[in-house]
């Protein structure tokens, strides 16, 4: 088990290094291949008004003339240990996860990211709870009542859930529930949890449901397929032969085994979602990471884009690491082999 954990950890770290290289490549190396000069890149940091000499100087100070390896080393060091920037007008400290400074606001990227996180986390965690509970229970019921009206209805709905884009369902729900019926607040409402939990939940209700609907559909289908398989397994027959009640047979024996693939999917989905529920946040104008990413891209704010990309990638890696460890905990055959 210990070797398994260690191996997974090493794997995750290697993955992170690769991701950082790729990100670095995309933002610093590819532009050069595409014909961008160090000066052109440096000019982003100093504003349009700067003279060529200043630009040259800044490019030198920022190390754009150095070999790629050296540049990458500096970039990686910035993320791990912080960095010092020297634009010619004095040295600035950029503390540990240093993704640089925004071109637009001049602020370090990381605190901005931190600011946005509660929104995205709130959205993701709430929706995840809903979709896992909803998707799995609908899936289980569908499997147990295979072929009935309930099964067809829920699987039909699930198909719709998978195929309808979120900006459509999102907009529709806004139009109907907020603007039409007035049951939910309009888009863009956000209250911090620490401020007023009830208001927080009330504001997020519609985004949660819309987002959960999208994912619940997949989970329902997956659960149904998994349950149909495990309920036909020999060990489920054994459980029945012992005299277990049908509920225990389904939950403790059938569902327990059917949940493992769902766990894997959940890790990936959740990780991706933390990286930015872009469409949902845009639709409901929530100030989360997704919206942050969109703004950064629209403004061509390179450090911000890079920061959000790296952060999202890290989260996917971490989430899948956690899932792998959970998986080993759930399935003793993985743990002991």
């Amino acid at each position: 088990m210990l070797t398994y954990i260690i191996r997974r950890f090493i794997g995750a770290i290697a993955m992170l290094i690769v991701i950082s290289m790729v990100t670095f490549g995309i933002f610093f190396v590819v532009p050069q291949w595409a014909g961008s000069t160090p000066e052109a890149m440096a000019s982003r940091y100093v504003g349009r008004a700067a003279t060529p000499e200043t630009v040259h100087l800044v490019a030198q100070k920022l190390g754009f003339y150095d070999p790629v390896i050296v540049q990458y080393g500096r970039f990686a060091k910035g993320i791990v240990a912080g960095a010092e920037y020297d634009y010619g007008a004095g040295v600035e400290q950029c503390p540990a996860p240093c993704f640089g400074y925004s071109f637009i606001s001049g602020q370090p990227v990381w605190p901005d990211l931190l600011d946005r996180m509660p929104v995205t986390f709130s959205l993701a965690i709430g929706a995840a709870l809903l979709w896992v509970l909803g998707g799995v229970s609908v899936g289980v019921l569908s499997a147990l009542r295979r072929g009935t009206f309930f099964d067809r209805l829920s699987m039909g709905t699930a198909l719709a859930g998978v195929s309808l884009p979120i900006f459509f369902t999102g907009m529709l729900s806004l139009v109907v529930f907020s603007y039409g019926l007035g049951w939910t607040p309009p888009g863009g409402s956000w209250t911090d949890f620490t401020e007023n939990p009830a208001q927080w939940a009330y504001n997020l209700l519609l985004p949660w449901i819309t987002l959960a609907f999208l994912f619940a559909a997949t989970y329902a289908r997956l659960t149904r397929a998994g349950m149909l398989e495990t309920m036909g397994e020999d060990y489920v027959r054994t459980a029945r032969a012992k005299g277990l009640t049908e509920r225990d047979v389904v939950v403790k024996h059938g569902l327990r085994a059917a949940l493992t693939p769902i766990l894997t999917l959940f890790g990936i989905d959740f990780g991706l979602l933390i990286g930015g529920a872009v469409l949902t946040e845009t639709t409901y104008t929530l100030p989360g990471l997704g919206q942050f990413a969109i703004l950064a891209i629209r403004n061509q704010d390179l450090p911000q884009v890079m920061g959000v990309v790296l952060f999202a990638a890290c989260f996917v890696v971490v989430a899948s690491l956690i899932v792998d460890l959970l998986y080993a905990w759930v399935d003793p055959r993985v743990r002991l082999s």
Binding site: Y235, K242, G243, R256
Partner: protein
């Protein structure tokens, strides 16, 4: 009335391809302390019968009719919840493949404890002690340590022992073993058969052993029921079935088997063709397309289902051939050939 009495049991499955008559009018009885062997080829309805007795087809697609009396209680018409209460307690089952029949995520101990606590209101500690005792009884070394192992950490033989321990956890009065040794090696099979024989004596339970291996039933059974195409074709005491069988299918089974206890023959005597699909059971006598004596029954073989009728020695045979003709055939033609083997 016997302890277990099955009367005209029918279990049919409606499917897209047609009605599968998996069990089609089965009648037998069994006393405590006795063993019934059910033999037959793949797809003859053996497993469906055993699951049917346990009530595991209830609530499914199966259409069940007939009667199953267990110790004075009728199970076919009983509510599902009542039968569930008997399952695992009064009647228990051992399955063929012990690896796939145990849940891979739970320890062996957990699964035995669970089985015990369904029917006994005791604490986990008490149940755990019981599980350790049982594992020791079925011959697992160091049961106190092995109780926390997972099924995949056991060898095949140990897994089957653990399955047996689980089935015995509530002292069942009826134990059904569906091919309990088919997945095991011969030396381990011998151990398991010994164990089942000893345990049956100890518990005085009624035992049904299902198998396609005539050697296994010869070792354990008091009575034997031969199934073909969902029906019983011959049913009688073990000695009758082995020493004076009267159904051509039973003859065929005996002739197909290479035997270690006799001088080897030049050739085996197989049955031609292959077992029928239960969707399309041949009309009349289900065995007639494969039967070498089908022409001796004046054309009735393919039109009329023979009755299960008693022979002069008292066991039951389902065949149109007149009794005397069957006896002469067996005495003069079949037995001599089999004996020279």
């Amino acid at each position: 009335m016997s302890f277990l009495d099955v009367k005209d049991l029918k279990i049919h499955f409606p499917t897209d391809d047609g009605l599968v008559r998996s069990v089609d009018g089965l009648t037998f009885g069994l006393e405590r302390g006795k063993t019934l062997g059910i033999v037959g080829e793949s797809g003859s309805g053996k497993s469906v019968t055993s699951l049917g007795i346990l009530g595991l087809h209830k609530g499914g697609r199966a259409k069940i009719s007939g009667e199953i009396w267990l110790d004075g209680e009728e199970l076919v018409s009983a509510p599902a919840e009542q039968v569930r209460g008997l399952r695992g307690k009064k009647m228990a089952m051992i399955f063929q493949d012990p690896l796939s029949s145990m849940h891979p995520y739970y320890t062996v101990g957990h699964q035995i404890i669970e089985a015990y606590r369904i029917h006994h209101d005791v604490s986990k500690q008490v149940a755990r002690k019981h599980a350790v005792d049982l594992l020791g009884r079925v011959g697992i070394p160091e049961p106190a340590n092995r109780v926390d192992s997972y099924p995949h950490e056991f060898s095949g033989g140990m897994r089957q022992r653990a399955m047996i321990a689980m089935a015995l956890s509530c002292d069942p009065e009826l134990l059904i073993a569906d091919e309990p040794t088919t997945a095991l090696d011969v030396t381990v099979q011998a151990q398991i058969l010994d164990l089942m024989r000893d345990l049956q004596r100890e518990f005085n339970s009624a035992l049904i052993i299902i198998t396609h291996d005539l050697g296994v039933v010869a070792e354990l059974a008091d009575d034997i029921l031969v199934m073909y195409g969902g029906k019983c074709v011959e049913y009688g005491s073990t000695d009758e079935i082995f020493y004076s069988p009267e159904h051509p299918y039973t003859w065929g089974l005996l002739g197909s088997m290479p035997r270690l206890d006799r001088e080897p023959t030049e050739r085996l005597l197989p049955i031609k063709g292959s077992p029928p699909s239960l969707i399309n059971v041949p009309p009349g006598c289900a065995f007639h397309p494969r039967c070498p004596y089908a022409d001796r029954t004046e054309g009735r073989a393919s039109t009329e289902v023979p009755d299960l009728a008693p022979t002069e020695r008292g066991h039951l045979v389902r065949c149109h051939m007149p009794r005397t003709e069957r006896r002469t055939l067996w005495e003069n033609e079949i037995k001599p050939v089999l004996e020279t083997q």
